[in-house]
Amino acid sequence: MTDPLLYLDGVSVSFDGFKALNNLSLMIDPGELRAIIGPNGAGKTTMMDVITGKTRPDHGTVMFEGNTDLTKLKESTIANLGIGRKFQRPTVFEHHTVLDNLELALKNPRGVFSGLFYKVSEEDRKRIEELLDITKLSPKRDVVAGGLAHGEKQWLEIGMLLAQDPKLLLVDEPVAGMTDAETEQTAHLLRAISGKHSVIVVEHDMVFVRELGVKVTVLHEGSMLAEGSLDTVSANQQVIDVYLGR
């Protein structure tokens, strides 16, 4: 058995007495694509906040690659360890071109002075071309990101995450507001990414989760309710009661 890439152990977070996460434990293997579903307020976004360092848990540990406790580190350090995050609302740099967005995300030294004296290398240029191909944004390379369609922004953001070359990708509701065709393409994109990278997808859209066809974790009131294939969890009476049945 391989060691898990990410291991959440007994994580609890409360805001003003409200338990957003309640003794949550979760394991993600290297290269795994995992879908996380759950009703509103189940703690999906809080879980992502804890993993990426935005929120500090009250209890519990988050071990990355077996020996790094993420709960003690700040966002930028965690990002540089190899954890990328996609927001629910597409968040790209609206005043920069598609090309610049990708260039900023490329895995290069992040310091002020390396930024001042940075020059695009041949290798970087090739990598950017690759990413433009994967995200199908090649024709829009010189367009300012603010002028992209909603779906294109989502892909650009995924492209930026790939540019970071993370070991683990956290993707928050990637298909919200997308057309069916875009949704299908996004599922395809995420499946292509996993294998080389571990991916956690938080999603409401059941059609999309079915499309992904991967192991599903159901969250409810900050804890794990069920885990397994979509068919298994769909058959679980508790899951039906709190979520699917409504």
Binding site: A79, E94, H96, D100, E103, R110
Partner: protein, 383 residues
């Protein structure tokens, strides 16, 4: 590497501006010193000083634009860094007076003799040497900005809250410098300067020299700022302005990104203040007043936030307006300034330079539409 870094940032606008500055650096001293006063081409010393003052303000506006226009940090206290640079220079100029003061004390400035002080406070030591004073001109604003930024950015204070603290910072300094026992001349500040680097500060040649120094400083500041904003670091700055948390999750240390621009900007403002003081002949606590800092924000807004040339243009235009208005209709000036700010915010969110860009685009669009129209007409008439 450094030359490449510095030159890479210069676009057409920059070259135009730098050429204008180069012409002024030659023409203004020539017209003031060599052209006989009877000629219509002659410039009075007053005009030279006034122009020098405008360009000091332009350098301040440039430094403010670097943090506000590119990094989204609206500083309402940049006048503090300007004033601190000015005080550092003022202290040097005070020490140069020597025994020519009213009390003839070679060691102590007049105001200290007046306050019955027996010896020079420790923090005045070294300011009799120009290189030391010049170093302090950048170091003091730089260190203050670094310390301020270190705490403010680390605690994730942003937006309006940060603006309010910058305002509080300059106000606190205003109150502190008003106090006589601070040792900076209190209410009256530092004035009555005699010479700078051994040259009579009132002499036309010195005044012309100070003007040229100001223009050169502005040009260097401009080249430096262009290099910074056009580098990858500059793109990160804009990214922080537009989507701070995205930048953080990409692995950039946003605090350090902000801190660098903020400190650099404060140093530039300090230099502007240091050049301002010998030209206007006085530095007093009013330079710390919140209103002065807010005025600088208006210059940048009018010229075009986020365009370096706009900041320079805005500072010069608004201050020319101020000179003109306070001469003709002094009581109207503040209303005009307020009205200008409201108008610019409502109708010209990108300032004068942004308006020029929009007009050019609209003209180009109309031209291409007209061309398309005539093509369509041709096709329609073709069989």
């Amino acid at each position: 590497m450094l030359t490449r870094f510095l030159l890479a940032g210069l676009d057409t606008k920059a070259w135009v501006l730098l050429s204008v500055l180069a012409v002024l650096a030659v023409a203004v001293p020539f017209m003031a010193l060599a052209v006989p006063p009877t000629s219509p081409w002659s410039l009075s010393m007053l005009t030279v000083t006034l122009l020098g003052k405008y360009f000091c303000y332009a350098l301040l506006a440039l430094s403010l634009d670097l943090v506000w226009g590119y990094c989204g940090i609206l500083s309402l206290g940049h006048g503090a860094f300007f004033a601190l640079g000015g005080y550092a220079m003022g202290m040097y100029l005070m020490r140069q007076i020597g025994s020519r003061g009213v009390y003839g004390n070679a060691e102590l400035p007049d105001f200290m003799v007046f306050l019955n002080w027996k010896e020079l406070p420790w923090y005045w030591h070294g300011f009799d040497m120009f290189p030391f004073a010049a170093l302090m001109v950048v170091l003091i604003p730089g260190v203050l900005a670094f310390a301020f930024g270190w705490f403010a950015f680390r605690s994730r204070v942003t937006g309006v809250y940060l603006s309010i603290i910058t305002q509080a910072m300059t106000f606190a300094l205003l109150l502190a410098f008003f106090r006589n026992d601070m040792g900076f001349g209190g209410n009256n500040g530092l004035t009555d300067f005699k010479e700078i680097l051994g040259y009579d500060i009132q002499a036309p040649a010195t005044r012309a020299g100070l003007f040229v120094a100001t223009v050169v400083a502005l040009a260097i500041g401009y080249i430096l700022a262009s290099a910074v904003v056009s580098s990858k670091y500059g793109k990160v700055l804009v990214a922080v302005r537009d989507a701070e948390s995205r930048v953080r999750f990409l692995g950039y240390d946003v605090e350090k990104v902000k801190l660098f621009a903020w400190t650099l900007s404060a140093c530039m403002a300090g230099v502007a203040g240091a050049l301002y003081v010998p030209q206007v002949g006085i530095i007093n606590p009013s330079e710390f007043s919140p209103a002065a800092s807010i005025e600088a924000v208006i210059w940048v807004a009018v010229g075009g936030r986020g365009t370096l040339a706009g900041a320079v243009l805005g500072a010069v235009i608004v201050n020319y307006g101020k000179t003109w208005f306070t001469g003709v209709l002094p009581e109207v000036w503040l209303f005009a300034l307020g009205g200008l700010f409201v108008l610019v915010t409502l109708f010209l969110p990108k300032g004068i330079l942004g308006l020029a860009g929009d007009l050019r685009q609209r003209l180009a669009a109309r031209r291409s539409r007209a061309a398309a129209g005539s093509n369509a007409a041709k096709e329609a008439t073709a069989p």
